[in-house]
Symmetry: C2
Subunit: 243 residues, 2 copies
């Protein structure tokens, strides 16, 4: 949603200038609008991170799923922003990163960016998250969001829903961190959020190597919807929203 929003915004700005047939000014306008968006995004992510400090108090470990960090946004990201702000303030947080099958954004991106800035990170398979909670290793879960319905139901990367159930079972707080623009007030609940199903070979041949028999049937939903009952709160740049 956000990428399309940014393109639309730049396009609108360019059309205004192009109506005067001034191409160099249009090129300049593209650059200025892009930089403005970048600056706003950096500020927004940072504010999400600052607002997230209230849920990190007395937490030493955070489990996250997929990637909602600096490589998915500008600056500090969304789900990882509270971790980066905490690290900046000298509050040490250890992150458990679900590898996030099938495309492994957690192992490939989240682990990488945390490692780059020196935040301790441990990679686990998605199926290990519940056991990791059981062993007392997880103080709080923070994930990003693709779309949030008006009631708080949250669509995010597949696996988020199972993680929320596991967190609920272990009384581990489960937070969503996202820009306020992720709320879709046209959707009363998450029930109507369409779920993309992706190609089987992401699962059967995801690493350049076939890992399932030929022609096997596959179910590959890209997202799931976590009902608001399983969500402790939603961290936005406008503050933390509680049910």
């Amino acid at each position: 949603v956000n990428l399309q929003w940014a393109l639309d915004r730049v396009r609108t700005r360019v059309r205004e200038v192009l109506s005067e047939r001034d191409v160099p000014a249009a090129v300049q306008a593209v650059l200025e609008e892009a930089h403005a968006i970048l600056d706003e995004d950096i500020t927004m992510c940072r504010t999400i991170g600052e607002n997230g400090q209230e849920v990190l108090q007395s937490c030493h470990t955070v489990l996250t799923h997929c990637n909602a960090g600096g490589l998915a946004t500008s600056g500090y990201g969304t789900a990882l922003a509270p971790v980066y702000v905490a690290a900046e303030q000298g509050h040490a947080i250890h992150v458990y990163a679900d590898e996030t099958r099938p495309l492994l954004q957690g192992a490939r991106i989240t682990a990488f960016e945390l490692q780059q800035v020196g935040v301790p990170v441990t990679v686990i398979c998605d199926s290990m998250a519940a056991w990791t909670m059981k062993k007392g290793k997880v103080d709080v879960v923070i994930v990003g969001a693709d779309r949030i319905a008006a009631n708080g139901d949250t669509a995010n990367k597949i696996g988020t829903y199972g993680l929320a159930i596991a967190a609920h079972h272990h009384n581990v707080p489960f937070y969503v961190a996202a820009p306020y623009s992720t709320f879709d007030y046209d959707l009363p609940t998450g029930t109507d959020i369409p779920i993309e199903e992706r190609a089987p070979d992401e699962i059967t041949c995801g690493f350049g190597r076939q890992t399932a028999p030929d022609n096997v049937d596959v179910y590959n939903p890209a997202f799931d919807v976590t009902p608001v009952e399983l969500i402790s709160g939603i961290i936005t740049e406008k503050g933390v929203w509680y049910p």
Copy 2:
């Protein structure tokens, strides 16, 4: 446990014969004992499958984790035995197979063996199981077991515990299928079952391709323990055991 048990049994038999210094007779004894174990195992798996029919009544879909089928045992396996017996009796069952990271036994073995005998199977990532249940696609979960404590707590492939929590959340019955010999009466509960931690590269480089940054920390428990509170029953060759 079972492999060691079978080796011990053959070794004991051979020692008896070798004490008479009759080598050809010892060779024959190895073969006879191995065939006897094979025959017993085939019968035992079949009986587990027959006993499992009582939990499959009115079920059309079974979700399983890892592999506890004909390629892990003799004959019909344990968790898959009820499915094979149902198929034999003309009761159509569709299986959802968790791929089972990190080693993908579900995608590589369970899907393969079901496909070979024409039982419909759909592969999913482990992180998709909860959502698959939410969509009403799972009537019952059946998994194998590595070790069962006296109270019913069950050690099995990592991911089983999270699956049991998800099943509980959706009121989907969750069964363990295993030979009666899997019960370890020396262990009152599952709390004391040691959990093997395996090499990081099963997760970071599991398919001959690096999928996480160099030197990243990894937590790779091979098993987890599902408490008996989350288990609807245990299907053995002696019958179905309910809490």
